[in-house]
């Protein structure tokens, strides 16, 4: 009864090898410490945006992969989060962490409203309704713009635009990239706790079928609403991270079409894998930047994404992340065979 177009693909896998993961974590920490210092300003900012977009993609993935629901409003919710982050930061002079949390909570609230139609609709109709919500958010944002240090509720300044205050511990671009990565990790942990806990099991039942969930005592309304609120929270946090990275946000940067792009690239990256959102984030921000670096028009990326989406829909429902893990599995088998064949 729920959207099961990619039925039969694996759920997000559980962590099984503590030792290997320990080594990976250590390597990641070292990389986190070393790499930002080696990057140019341009790439620092690109990766900060990519981290924010990874969180945004993470908000799309679980909704789709776990509950089987499509939301095309997530980039709009990013804008909502960004708006509240800027508003609170400029208006109250609150620390970045408070702005981040408020951005998440306010976007969760809006996300919950976006999700209300999900209680009655699914599949294409739900997608269209959420896209219309994204359109509504786009209109509001382009009409009112983002706060930039001015007075009043809208916070529009007539003079120079102020930059959003960054976290106390992360004033420089390098430090802020590290900070953004840490926030991303926290978002991942939040999703992991959900997926492996009670909500994850309830979502799996709902995705199997609503009669299955009802017969198992799952309160479908509550868990669907909760899924949308969680997705909204993550999108809001992503918006705040983006706002902190750039310092201000552009009223024209949150069109509804970006929500579709975000959803499409989450599918291309791999909605069912933990690496999928990272790949999606990199594709959305780092790939166009890479093209620019090679003096190729970054807009060509859109064409490449279209081809990638076709490829994903036709041959790789697990997305790029699924293909990578298939490839790794194949390599491991080949290596294992060679080791057995050797002395």
């Amino acid at each position: 009864m729920t959207d099961q177009s990619l039925e039969g693909v694996p759920s997000i896998r559980a962590v099984r090898f503590p030792l290997r993961w320990g080594v990976l974590c250590a390597a990641a920490l070292i990389a986190l410490y070393v790499i930002p210092d080696a990057l140019s300003n341009y790439w620092l900012r690109t990766f900060i945006s990519a981290a924010a977009l990874t969180i945004a993609s993470l908000s799309v993935g679980p909704l789709f992969a776990q509950v089987g629901m499509v939301s095309l409003a997530q980039f709009g919710l990013l804008g909502v989060g960004g708006w509240f982050a800027l508003r609170i930061s400029h208006g109250l002079g609150a620390p970045f962490e408070i702005a981040l949390l408020c951005a998440g909570l306010s976007a969760a609230l809006v996300g919950l409203i976006v999700g209300l139609p999900a209680l009655r609709m699914r599949g294409l109709y739900l997608a269209i309704i959420t896209l219309m919500m994204a359109g509504a958010i786009q209109v509001l944002i382009s009409a009112f713009g983002f706060p930039d240090g001015g007075p009043g509720i809208l916070g529009k300044s007539t003079g120079a635009r102020l930059m959003m205050a960054r976290p106390f511990v992360a004033q420089s671009d390098q430090a802020y990239l590290r900070y953004a990565v840490v926030v991303t990790v926290f978002c991942y942990l939040l999703v992991l706790a959900h997926v492996r806990g009670r909500p994850g099991r309830a979502w799996a039942m709902i995705r199997r079928s609503e009669v299955c969930a009802l017969a198992g005592g799952v309160d479908i309304v509550a868990y669907k609403v909760w899924a949308f609120a969680l997705a909204g929270f993550l999108a809001g946090v992503a918006g705040a991270v983006l706002a902190g990275g750039v310092g201000q946000l552009d009223g024209s940067a949150f069109p509804a079409s970006q929500s579709i792009m975000l959803f499409a690239l989450t599918i291309v990256g791999g909605a069912y894998s933990w690496f999928g959102p990272i790949i999606a984030g990199l594709m959305l921000r780092a790939f166009p930047a890479l093209l620019n670096d090679f003096r190729v028009d970054g807009n060509i990326a859109t064409m490449v994404f279209g081809i990638g989406l076709l490829h994903a829909l036709i041959t790789a429902p697990h997305g790029i992340a699924g293909q990578l893990s298939d490839l790794a599995g194949r390599l491991r088998r080949v290596l294992g065979r060679e080791r057995k064949a050797g002395p």
Partner: protein
């Protein structure tokens, strides 16, 4: 104890159940009848998926109309489905844990309850196997395990015996026979397999066109001429 009073279910112009009245006190009760007789409709009314047009159903004296659909599992009304509904991307153990999330467990450790249930249906070694990797029979058994954890009052099974091999069918019979003793739940069994019904059910209710045409000890009910007529479509004067 299931009490059904004047239960009518109307689907547009079709009557799924027609003023059905019955008292079902036995621990394992069969529910038989030809296709379209209203067996699955009755189960769906008990589960809450179908709202009765008129009449009343109660279990252990509790009127079911006061219990929301998603609260019925917690109250103790459980079921398996004609098309099994095992969650493919959860392990067998997590399939059961997903039910334990929503039903009373009386403070007992979940892991122990899960192991107990898996062992009872013969899936003790399959706890960590994903739903999709279980075969049709194992899925059927897992559904039964899901239905019997956490203080059930009534376990309804909708054609659990369909498409099973001989030895699987025998194991199913053992499981159904022992279910009441194991968890204390009343069992309501819908099946076309008269052998399965005779082997497991103390009493049987026969439905035809949404009404009860017979109720009593299984052997004598199944021998009644009107039951044979409804089932086999034979006219009395034609014989």
């Amino acid at each position: 104890m299931i009490e059904i009073d004047d239960l009518t279910v109307q689907f547009g112009g079709v009557r799924g159940l027609s003023e059905l009245t019955a008292r079902l006190p036995e621990s394992v009760t069969g529910l038989v009848g030809p296709n379209g007789a209203g067996k699955t409709t009755l189960i769906n009314v008990l589960s809450g998926f179908v709202r009765p047009t008129a009449g009343r159903v109660s279990i252990d004296g509790q009127d079911l109309k006061d219990i929301a659909i998603h609260k019925r599992a917690g109250f103790g009304i459980r079921r398996t489905f004609q098309n099994e509904q095992v969650v493919e991307n959860l392990t067998a153990a997590d399939n059961i844990r997903a039910i334990l999330d929503n039903v009373p467990i009386d403070g007992r450790p979940r892991t122990a309850l899960i192991e107990q249930a898996l062992e009872f249906v013969g899936l003790a070694a399959k706890g960590n196997v994903l739903g999709r990797d279980l075969n049709a029979y194992q899925r059927r058994m897992l559904e039964i395990a899901r239905a019997m954890v956490g203080r059930p009052r009534l376990v309804m099974m909708d054609e659990p015996g369909a498409g099973l091999a001989q030895h699987e069918s025998e194991h199913l019979r053992d499981v159904i026979r022992q279910l009441h003793g194991h968890c204390g739940a009343q069992v309501l069994l819908v099946d076309h397999d008269v052998d399965l019904i005779s082997a497991t059910c103390m009493a049987t209710l026969v439905l035809d066109f949404g009404s009860a045409i017979a109720y009593g000890p299984t052997a004598s009910v199944l021998a009644e001429p009107k039951v044979r007529e409804a089932y086999l479509g034979m006219l009395e004067d034609a014989t």
